[in-house]
Amino acid sequence: MLEVKHLTKSYQKDKPALTDISFSVEPGNFLAIIGPSGAGKTTILRSLNQLIKDDDGQILLDGSDIRSDNKAQLRKHRRQIGMVFQNYNLVERLTVIENVLHGRLGYKSTLAGMFGIYSEEEKKEALELLDKVGLKDFALQRCSELSGGQKQRVGIARSLIQHPKVILCDEPIASLDPASSHTVMHLLKQLTIEFNIICVANLHQINLAKKYADRIVGIRQGKLVFDEESSMLSEEILETLYDQTISKELE
């Protein structure tokens, strides 16, 4: 279980970016974080694997606090937390399978990782996962040759090979066309259940959040204003969240 308690962060003095954020997610659940741009969604997500150092609070993964980790402990925690990015953040010049195998680096000795020496099982697993995300025949292609949706699926495979307890998705579909968006969201949802992992995603598409997420957290100006089952998301809440009527989005 992932528990976030009283998370606080400010980039400048007296200008809080996050104030007292608390929520928790059970394995097998998909949590969407929604809110206007600049509300602090990315800050929350990146605090969860400490790419951003927050100021105060607790982040408990199965009871152990990530925030109090030293370097080695943080590395062990990070390999249990996959991450999927808006811009995919793949090494474009390397092949698909090499990018997937990058997910194993956290488990390897420094030298083996530096020179990309992977075991047979790891390679086999990478291929199985590529099959799972529908890219079986792309293993030896360069990532730069793939479409956006395909790149994002490579990103998902890279996070899965980490054997993660949590997958963090930072605007996973913001750069994708509607069809690829549905493919990626559907895939994330299905994998969350299949591998019994926790999926936390920042989303701008409220309709997709409502369709695929089990629970939705709303953030406005660094404060948590909504934390309910996704079916509870109503027009009034969206109005307060975004300061305007966007009922069309819900259709």
């Binding site: 790419l51 991450m83 793949l90 990058h102 956290g106 390897k108 990782g113 990309g116 996070s159 980490q162």
Partner: protein, 263 residues
């Protein structure tokens, strides 16, 4: 806000004023330097005719080709070796100094300062300073080219790392990869094309510059050029220049082809 019509008229006046200012700067500086624009320009064709007549390679100068060729190869080798060694040094320093991969901000500022120092001392000055310690030898030229190239490449590599590798670095850091794993698996593969492109560009540049350095250090094609020039063998000088131009063009074409393949 002024109306769009007025704005356009104003912009027009501004452009006219700028052209007038540039023109008057030219007139003023010609007056200070006693430069007669008219006879200056009419002398250009004459100068080229003189060049054409005196520097045109003759059958005698063609006989010198083997010697010119040998010295040219020396010069190209000097340029290539100094650039490659400079690139290796610069890559290490740039990784230590860039904002994305570096140690801290102090190191970043210091590295930038060092790179700027090496870069902003003119090549000729480097060569003349180094002549004191290393006398007239290939090594002096090698070192002068190396130092200047290191200055350029550190700066270029740091910017490449910051621009091109930051995002993938973050992704690999998030998987729990260690610092050296991130450098070898994300940063280096990601920046390699831009890196090679810069090294090729510096090699092209350094072949030209190595000629200049050779005049000072008495080595390579620069030495031959200087020798023929000072003994008034202008036809041989013309032959040398022609050979240099051909080699530089061939190198440019070659490196453009390499770029096409790797990018």
């Amino acid at each position: 806000m002024s109306s769009p019509i007025k704005f356009l008229a104003q912009k027009h006046r501004k452009q006219t004023a700028i052209i007038a200012v540039i023109g008057s700067i030219y007139v003023l500086s010609s007056w200070i330097l006693n430069f007669d624009s008219f006879s200056g320009f009419t002398a250009v064709p004459k100068a080229f005719t003189w060049l054409g007549v005196n520097f045109f390679p003759t059958s005698e100068s063609v006989e010198l080709l083997p010697r010119i060729w040998q010295k040219l190869i020396e010069t190209v080798a000097l340029a290539v070796s100094s650039t490659v060694v400079a690139a290796i040094i610069a890559l290490f320093v740039a990784i230590l100094g860039s904002k994305a991969t570096g140690i801290n901000n102090y190191v970043h500022v210091i590295v930038r300062g060092i790179a700027s120092f090496f870069r902003n001392i003119p090549l000729v000055a480097w060569a003349m300073i180094l002549l004191f310690s290393f006398k007239q030898s290939d090594f002096t030229g090698f070192l002068a080219l190396l130092l200047m190239t290191v200055g350029y490449l550190i700066r270029a590599f740091m910017e490449i790392i910051e621009d091109e590798a930051s995002e993938t670095m973050m992704a690999l850091k998030a998987t729990g990869a260690s610092y050296f794993q991130v450098i070898f698996q994300a940063v280096l593969p990601q920046i390699m094309p831009s890196l090679i492109s810069w090294v090729l560009y510096m090699i092209e540049n350094n072949v030209r510059d190595a000629t200049l350095v050779g005049i000072l250090t008495g080595t390579g094609i620069g030495f031959i050029f200087d020798l023929y020039f000072k003994s008034f063998r202008f036809d041989a000088v013309g032959m040398t220049i022609l050979a240099i131009i051909i080699v530089v063009i061939v190198l440019e074409v070659l490196s453009n082809q390499i770029r096409k393949v790797i990018l």
